[in-house]
């Protein structure tokens, strides 16, 4: 009896070993541990059904530790086959060290625009090393019930926007806008980078800044600061000490009418807010002007250059670049929008409004993320500080712009005074 048992065990181990040898198992490194169930229940089964013989394991680590964990795993040679890519310099460094493979030849790369790919390309755009997965879009979320109650139309231009804010303020029931300057990044990301693209004309201005043909002291880059300086009067009492969670709560509790937002808020707000919400794109300076939105590339997927299964990994990456994946992923995570050129039909109404702007407005990414934040002083961090100062009124828009320009020019060659 004992011997039979042992034999059976031995046989089953060998069989299992044989079965494994046929299947290739791919491991995905990621920081999105919030998405574990979505990958396991929705995305991976869909892929495995279509591609028998390839098994996929999603193995995330904590967001704050991801970069450090990934780097040490890559150095030790124990990292997974597929690597979730942070945008810009963090991933570029991995590519330069030869740890991420060049994916320029991947068929599904054709499904992405140049802006979408820019976050995972070498500076000259010659090589792309991650498949773009998702972006976040900036805009304003508003309390639709409050707007209906006060009879306010959704603002389209700068003038209408401030008229709406004035009306909410005069009524007094709601705080016109929920934003604080305590955490600083709110002011920069949801303020400056949110409304800015309309003034610096999206990609045109961003590229000109990188090329050195525009300066941060040009009107196009100072104008958004002038707008921010006017926001002060519409923020809640003591906004100087208001934190990011404070702002979220003020809005979802129905105490504030407008929330300068990023689309990642959508699922949280859907769960928290007990009123009808709507969204509007950053208002344009004058009626009829072209509109631009910040459609910021946030997550990509690349291949470990030392993977044992490069062919299977490429099959998976090709699938990640397909419209099918885009539909699955974007709908499972409303607010993280697919970067695929094929538009995805969104089910969530709020997410639908956000993604709808892609059809009428030109997308760009945050101006400080590519190349310009490589030196000291760091332009992104300085922008946080400057935006918060301008909103508080402790620095004028012109002074802030001059300080940023001086900082950038101190290390960035194309911006140095000629």
């Amino acid at each position: 009896m004992k011997r039979t048992m042992r034999f059976a065990l031995l046989a089953s181990t060998m069989l299992a070993g044989a079965a494994q040898a046929e299947d290739v198992t791919l491991t995905i490194e990621s920081w999105r541990n919030d998405d574990l169930s979505i990958w396991q229940d929705t995305i991976i089964p869909a892929f495995e059904a279509a591609n028998p013989g390839i098994k996929v394991v999603f193995a995330p680590s904590a967001p704050a530790e991801y970069n450090a964990v990934l780097n040490s795993k890559l150095d030790a040679g124990s990292a997974g086959d597929l690597i979730t890519c942070r945008p810009f310099d963090a991933s570029l460094e991995l590519y330069n060290k030869g740890q991420l493979a060049d994916l320029s030849g991947l068929a599904s790369m054709a499904n992405f625009s140049d802006v979408a790919k820019s976050a995972w390309q070498t500076d000259d755009g010659a090589a792309t090393f991650c498949v773009p997965m998702a972006s976040v879009i900036h805009g304003f979320i508003y309390n639709a019930d409050a707007f209906a109650e006060l009879g306010i139309e959704v603002p389209k231009t700068e003038a209408e926007f401030f008229a709406a804010l004035d009306k909410i303020k005069a009524d007094g029931t709601y705080i016109p806008m929920a934003m604080g300057t305590n955490d600083q990044w709110e002011a920069a990301t949801m303020g400056y980078q949110n409304i800015g693209p309309n003034y610096w004309k999206g990609e045109e201005g961003r590229k000109a800044l990188i090329a050195g043909t525009q300066k941060l002291t040009d009107e196009a880059w100072v104008a958004p600061y002038r707008q921010l300086a006017k926001w002060k009067d519409y923020l809640g009492d003591g906004f100087e000490a208001q934190t990011y969670p404070d702002s979220q709560n003020l809005f979802t509790l129905g105490r504030a009418a407008i929330y300068p937002a990023g689309s990642w808020e959508i699922s949280g707000f859907n769960a928290q807010a007990g009123f009808k919400m709507g969204a509007f794109a950053p208002p344009v300076p004058a009626a009829g002007a072209d509109c631009y939105i910040s459609d910021h590339t946030d997550i990509g997927l690349g291949m470990n250059a030392k993977t044992a299964h490069p062919d299977a990994a490429k099959v998976f990456l090709d699938w990640v670049g397909s419209p099918e994946f885009a539909k699955l992923y974007a709908n499972a995570l409303p607010g993280f929008f697919s970067l695929n050129s094929t538009p995805v039909e969104m089910e969530d109404p709020l997410a639908k409004e956000f993604v709808g702007w892609r059809e009428t407005c030109k997308p760009t990414i945050r101006s400080t993320y590519q190349i310009l934040s490589r030196g000291t002083p760091n332009l992104e961090n300085e922008t946080w500080n400057a935006s918060a100062n301008v909103i508080k009124g402790t620095e004028t828009p012109e002074d802030a712009a001059k300080r940023l320009q001086d900082g950038l020019a101190s290390w960035y060659e194309p911006q140095k005074a000629k």
């Binding site: 305590n182 990044w185 208001q242 934040s373 490589r374 000291t376 760091n378 992104e380 508080k392």
Partner: protein, 306 residues
Amino acid sequence: MAQRKPVRWHIVVFLAPAVLVYTALMIVPLFGTLNLSLFNLDETKTRLFVGLANFATLFGDPRWSGAFWNALANNAWFFLVHMLVQNPVGILLAALLSSPRLRFSAFYRTAIFIPTILSFVIVGFVWKLILSPIWGIAPGMLDAVGLKSLFAPWLGKEEYALTTLALISVWQFVGIPMMLIYAALLSIPDEVIEAAEMDGVTGWSQFWKIKLPLILPSIGIISILTFVGNFNAFDLIYVAQGALAGPNFATDILGTFLYRTFFGFQLQLGDPHMGATIATAMFGIILVGVCFYLFAIQTRLRRYQF
């Protein structure tokens, strides 16, 4: 027949664990940091010996030196608030607690000491909530006594934020000087007090003339502990204001400046070499402070043997 002195191995053996652990955990990293501050990367990202060039950047480049002096000045103010508020209040509380007529003194002692054992994260978060202009109880309490006009979003104003945080830190740590002084007061022999009473020195004049001189060495120790603790501080600022030490770097102290530089922040990649340079400067500042205390103050303190 003079016997050779036996080698006293037991001394080496007994000292070894402490020496080894201390060397591995403190001395090696310290010299590693000092060493790191003498290197930097060139254009091709290879590490190279640069001598004191990093220090020249830190003190010579207007941006680096501006940030450094701002952090140092903030740190000095942080320390000054502790010296002017925490330590006198601690001494006062200890004097009150050691009064034999005080009832519930064990309760007060425990209650005042409890914040010290709380984590910085809890203290930072709780005070942020208390002082929050939106949900906090501070505006409501001030309103109840008709002083609402005095309320300001303190943590968000450049002119108040650092002082507010320093006072929060004082609130947290006032228990330490209190306990040390309390212990020193209890160790004063009753004969000395009795003799003073015979000579008619009682009450406050007894405190000033008899007890205070006897606890001066303890006050010295507390001062130096406060100095080292404050110039190494980081946690409370990081928890309450983040690594950018807002508003507008008004609460940036050496610890947060070091953290931002060494580990990087958001898009700013970490720079271990400049970080080590700042760490070395901090080490120098603390070393000078401690030496000043050891050689200029402690040697002049009079000790009394009972």
